[in-house]
């Protein structure tokens, strides 16, 4: 099993979510995040004083998957979240030892 984590632009969340839904992914965790990569931040001006805001708001999306689905799901996310401009985000995959469904206590693939 694998954990796919994607950091994407906030306005792409709805698109990515429906694309994953159509692909057959039925659960995910979404959180608001902030950070920066090559995009860096933006500037804001208050009474003429200019400040650089380094951290850019992003959405962090996490999905747990069986190994065989990983490549396809990553492709779906990348394809949907892509705008081609700087700041589109990152997707990464890490192995997962165990998954437990809290309600039933089921483990492994059954818990997905």
């Amino acid at each position: 099993m694998k954990l796919v984590t994607a950091v994407i632009k906030p306005f792409k969340l709805d698109d990515v979510r429906s694309a994953l839904e159509s692909f057959g992914v039925h659960g995910m965790t979404v959180s608001e995040a902030s950070g920066y990569g090559r995009q860096k931040g933006h500037t804001e001006v208050y009474r003429g004083a200019e400040y650089t805001v380094d951290l850019v708001p992003k959405i962090r999306l996490e999905v747990l998957l069986e190994d065989e689905d990983v490549d396809d799901v990553v492709e779906v996310i990348v394809k949907t979240a892509q705008t081609g401009r700087i700041g589109d985000g990152k997707v990464w995959v890490v192995p997962v030892d165990t998954i437990v469904r809290v309600r039933t206590g089921e483990r492994g693939g059954d818990a997905l």
């Binding site: 979510r17 979404v30 959180s31 608001e32 001006v45 208050y46 003429g48 004083a49 805001v53």
Partner: protein, 444 residues
């Protein structure tokens, strides 16, 4: 003496309008600080309403408007407002009004002036020390200075009971010197006494609610019609003139400020529009009953432009006047007070003067400058004295971790917002999270 009902009604109404300005100021300032110090910022205004109201009754009115005959302060003959309820006054107005109406109208000025200072020391002042400061400053600075400028000895300037600046012929219709230069200079003094906030000027301390700032500016603008037009102390042509010039100057100051921003920074900002409005209101305050509508337009635009440039001064000289009390109230007050020497015309008000542009020569400008310098210097020096005294004795500044952690929680045991709840579901309403999700499962 027969009472004039229209004049009395207007002065009472104006007193209520000026009263609204202090809560308006609380919103104007409160929106500009970070969410962790908004309550403290607003409380500095609200506590001032409480303290100064009491002092005004006990002795403040007497010090400001009593008849001591020396021009420097009014003495204590009217302390406690004894025998006020049946007295009448004109104090420069045309017809008698109940003295209590005048006392209450002037009380609101005494309240907002110290409240204006609080913007210079946002996020970092011990609340109790601020309260003590307000009492001392009102007593030693505002009450006497109001006497200098506003007390015409019951009639017109020239009587021994009038204030010395009023007798000198310094024109200040509604408080360019006594209120704005006074508070602006005091703000500069306290910013120096308390020092810079941790992280200033490198760290962004961004306004947590610009809608609050705009709301506050709107309340100030509304209340200011009472401040300026009410200062005619009657429902008179002078009141209408002051009302008109107040509106015109404020509108052009908004334009002046955002035009500067558009060309200097690239974007006209909401903070700039709100600040421009207040700058225009400040600048027209002393001049509102002495200039023509076109003169008001010039003063408003000038103040919008100059104050927009002046708020940068603090970065050069490294004093943390957090919410620009100096850049707006001191600079705007000076602009408006001196502008009388240029734009005043007796064609709109025969009790005024002709300024430089209306054939009055340089003398009116010089007289205005005396008023500006006298109030600025007195306020700056005395406020530095009071400030350092409090700083060295009971302490004026909160500790570093209180400042960083949030002054609201430490000084008031409150926080303004429940931010976790306010954040709401991520990505809009389409994704139910937390409680909404749990509820849906239960129902299913």
């Amino acid at each position: 003496m027969e009472i004039n009902a229209g004049d009395t009604a207007w002065v009472l109404m104006s007193a209520a309008l000026v009263m609204l300005m202090t809560p308006g100021l609380a919103f104007f300032y409160g929106g500009m600080v970070r969410s962790k110090s908004v309550l403290n910022m607003m409380m500095m205004s609200f506590i001032t309403i409480g303290i100064v109201s009491v002092l005004w009754v006990l002795y403040g009115y007497s010090v400001a408007f009593g008849d001591s005959g020396n021009g420097l302060w009014g003495g204590l003959s009217e302390a406690g407002l004894t025998d006020m309820a049946t007295s009448m006054t004109t104090n420069g107005g045309a017809y008698p009004i109940p003295l209590l109406a005048f006392v209450l109208f002037q009380m609101m000025f005494a309240i907002i002036t110290p409240a204006l200072i609080s913007g210079a020391i946002a996020d970092r002042a011990k609340f109790t020390t601020w309260a003590v400061f307000v009492g001392l400053w009102a007593t030693l600075v505002y009450f006497p200075v109001a006497h200098w400028v506003f007390d015409f000895g019951g009639q017109e300037a020239g009587t021994p009971d009038a204030g010395w600046l009023a007798n000198l012929g310094v024109l200040d219709f509604a408080g360019g010197t006594a209120v704005h230069i006074n508070a602006g200079a005091a703000g500069l003094a306290l910013a120096i006494v308390l020092g810079r906030r941790i992280g200033w000027p490198k760290t962004l301390m961004k306004p947590h609610s610009l809608p609050f700032v705009l709301l506050g500016a709107a309340l100030l603008w509304f209340g200011w019609f009472g401040f300026n037009a009410g200062s005619a102390l009657g429902a008179t042509p002078t009141a209408a003139l002051a009302f008109a010039t107040t509106m015109i100057a404020t509108a052009t100051a908004v334009l002046g400020w955002v035009v500067v921003e558009r060309f200097r920074d690239g974007h006209p900002t909401s903070l700039g529009a709100a600040s421009g409005a207040v700058a225009g209101l400040v600048a027209i305050t002393p001049a509102c009953a002495f200039v023509s509508p076109i003169g008001a337009m010039a003063i408003g635009f000038l103040s919008g432009v100059l104050c927009a440039l002046a708020v940068g001064i603090k970065f050069r000289f490294k004093f943390d006047d957090s919410l620009d009390v100096v850049g707006i109230h001191l600079v705007g007050g000076i602009v408006g007070s001196l502008a009388i020497g240029l734009f005043a015309t007796t064609s709109v008000n025969e009790l005024g003067k002709d300024g430089l542009f209306y054939g009055g020569g340089i003398q009116p400008l010089l007289t205005q400058a005396v008023g500006v310098v006298a109030v600025l210097a007195y306020s700056l020096v005395v406020t530095l004295g009071i400030g350092y005294l409090l700083h060295k004795t009971i302490g004026f500044r909160v500790s570093g971790d209180v400042e960083v952690g949030g002054i609201d929680l430490a000084e008031h045991a409150e926080t303004a917002y429940d931010l976790a709840a306010a954040a709401g579901p991520v990505g809009g309403s389409k994704i139910p999270t937390g409680a909404a999700l749990a509820e849906r499962k239960v129902n299913a």
